[in-house]
Symmetry: C4
Subunit: 283 residues, 4 copies
């Protein structure tokens, strides 16, 4: 996204439009970001409100009018993005390009197609557009750090997920054998569903063991679920602490002119290894 | 709060009153703190008890008498605070100043207004006054450390909250489509409510999916919720560990013979502040 | 407990008995520990089984017989402990001394008093005696480490608990106002109970909000509860990591004979700071 | 498993078969792994589908046919494993050898025995075979790291589990006394079951306290459960961070010019294994 360069020469209207819409470093660009976020939130709220019968009965006409206003605005925005970017097809095919398109398509499609409920609900995906806000300066580094930690932990997370799925399949099958259909365990998939509900400590209670054997097994699953939540937490925490350690000190860290070692403490006045004055290295 | 200086000259009654009420470093000040905490807890317990019909029927008169005693005491305390502080309006407008005012206002207001239930319940906000205890010596550092960790992690937490809200909106809408009103998903907002109940692993069970498709989706949300609890935990843990490392008076820390500052790194050979050789201070 | 010295001269029967019963460093002592743990677990299982009507109807006589066997054994053990320890009253007043006494008292008391259910259930406290196992070599260090981490974090935990209790009181009162008795919020204490059930993500579903306003408030409480679980986890993790760092390296750490620095890596053959051979310091 | 050497001379058909089936370092071996995982997942899905009445009624014949195809394939695979490995009995007695055998046994047994439901469900244990995937290169290190962290924390985890079980037994007994059979606490074991459901924050709601005293006790258990989840999380996180620090190929790590080993400490001046000066390797 950031690599999509503006179309037109610097200073031209297209370049200026690009700067406002795609970047966040000018007052106009920031105002545009805020307006966009507000429009997205209002539009999502409208879609949600429309699905409530009592609200729809009373304010239906206003909501549909608001929907068209938002759709026209988002369409203009989409066209301006296509126009102001150097490679429109690259933008159109990018993740946010598709999200921008799908934010307006359902409403236009409802003119032609007999507007189904599915079509209306798809508009809720506009909420994804809020993630553009994460491109703002304050969030870039933090979001990247979180992303890096997740990526670095992906194999550990896979090992954990395979283990959880296997436990849940085995436990769900055992409960199906032990409990049977009387207490809701009518099939292995339902047993597995119960296993997930229990292991993740959600515990709806729509299916619950009734036999002693089943309750003993359920108790084991609960303690297991309560305990192994430590695993994803531990994986992510260790990884995040490591990523932070890599990313953090670079801001204040200075290299000693004498021994070449890094001084991580930004308050230090002298190198802790050789005693060289860090502030005036020529001393 | 701590920056609110006493009114009157040192040694005067106003300065002494200020010391007892606002500070915690004299026996009288500590006794006042303990008495205040007890009064707050008793008063909150009384408000809670009053809302229980069976208790109110039997002890109603006693509870209302206790309420007036507490209100008069808190009012006297509030007036003393106003009187003993150098800038009364600054105190009155401060967070705790307002809390102190709202602790007594509802009871006095009930004399004029026909005392509604809302007015009575507002008194429960007195519980906030308990946080004055966090100004006591033992807690200051700890509370500040926790606060610093939360502040340092605010952008990461925002990224996390935006992600959670987006997931919940999308998942809630999908469940509304998949399940429909028969199993309680009567609107998108209800779907989102279910999404929050499930993702946070609360799992009331008042709304639960009934179709296979809905249960598969629910299982995914549960595993997601079970897994991503690692994110706030990881963020806060990494931040707190970092804050502690900065703040903790280390065991291996040595004091510099020259500048008197503590050197936390046990491997350091030279004071980082003045460059004195730590191993042979006589050098 | 460990400081309770044996009665009698070394080698005497009393000293030998003391060694077997109180210490864990002889084969006889270890065998005694294992037998004791088994007796405790069986006895607790028997108390639990006795409370189940169907089991009690069939095996009641056998369970009561087993109870008397265990009680006599535990009484003999208690008397031996009193006899073999140098200061019997110190032991009798110690935590485990009282636990040992209360493990046998209810059964003897049932001979005199008409045996109530309360008396029978008190016997379940025998389960506390299992913690004697934590005195075994492998567990001492680990249990101490966990204890040290909890102690070091006690002020932070208090800050957290005060915050949680305040949130729950305020939120519970708001729900009482918003929801009212129709959906189960009949009083503020019930609202607070609901608040705890929700904030801790337990989510029984016995009381659940029915109004839109109540569900919005509930959703906020859930997300808060889901998020702030990071706080105790972060506190404990940071503290435990710190305690481990202090405690861990001392086991394998060797001091360099030349530069005096500690080498934390047990696999290192040479000092990482000056290159001295750690295995043969005279080289 | 990896230590099971191939039968036959290198280059022979048996050695080649061994390489494909047991190892993952050739294209054929990787293709075999993928095919095996797919066959396992399909077979597990079939067992699950068979337990659903509506699916079984319609696709029963197809599912049973698929079952036989998979069984024959797994049997051939099992026999090839036995044939290609140098010590067949060692493999047959190994964990995965037994898992491989039990993956096919139930189906063959159903020819002789009147096929019970238990026999059919045992086939679900095939899901364990998926863990062979953890032998793939990317996962070996990660799975080993997680395993090492769990092993290193085993005594701490035991202390935690003993504490949790003791709390749950005591609390369950108290609830049995306080609540009695009217609200579902018909025996101590049911109280303990409720205790586990509540402490682990699962919260089915199938048994919930009805008296004030019981709800106060339940609230304490919830807050305790909410808080002490910090313990396993802290234990595992601290251990994993420690294991990672040992294992991670650091950015600043340098290779010793003399012995070729990596020195992870960026501050080290000398190789910890052979004492070579890392800064000036030509010395």
């Amino acid at each position: 996204m950031d690599s999509l360069y503006p179309a037109g020469s610097p200073g031209s209207l297209r370049a200026k439009t690009h700067r406002v819409i795609f970047l966040h470093d000018t007052p106009a660009g920031k105002a545009f970001d805020v307006a966009l976020i507000l429009a997205i939130l209002l539009s999502v709220a409208a879609v949600m409100a429309e699905s409530v019968h009592s609200i729809d009965a009373e304010f239906g006409t206003a909501l549909r009018a608001a929907e068209w206003v938002v759709t026209v605005l988002f369409t203009v925005e989409y066209l301006l993005r296509l126009w102001s970017v150097r490679r429109p097809t690259a933008y159109a095919k990018s993740f946010f390009g598709l999200v921008d398109l799908f934010a307006v398509l359902p409403t236009w499609a409802s003119l032609i197609l007999p507007g189904g409920q599915v079509l209306a609900v798809i508009r809720i995906l506009r909420v994804i557009r809020v993630f553009r806000i994460l491109k703002l300066a304050q969030f870039v580094g933090e979001a990247r750090l979180l992303g890096a930690a997740v990526r670095a932990a992906r194999y550990k997370i896979t090992v954990f997920l395979i283990s959880v799925m296997s436990i849940v399949v085995i436990v769900g099958s055992m409960m199906y054998l032990v409990e049977g259909p009387t207490s809701g365990f009518t099939s292995i998939p339902r047993g597995v569903y119960w296993g997930i509900v229990t292991l993740t400590t959600v515990g709806y209670g729509d299916i619950a063991p009734a036999t002693t054997m089943g309750q003993v097994l359920a108790a084991l699953v609960m303690i297991l679920g309560y305990g192994i939540i430590a695993v994803p937490t531990g994986i992510f925490t260790a990884e995040l602490a490591h990523q932070s350690r890599i990313a953090r000190p670079s801001l204040g860290r200075r290299e000693c002119s004498d021994c070449g070692r890094n001084e991580p403490d930004p308050e230090a006045g002298f190198c802790r290894y050789c005693g060289t004055n860090l502030a005036r290295p020529d001393e």
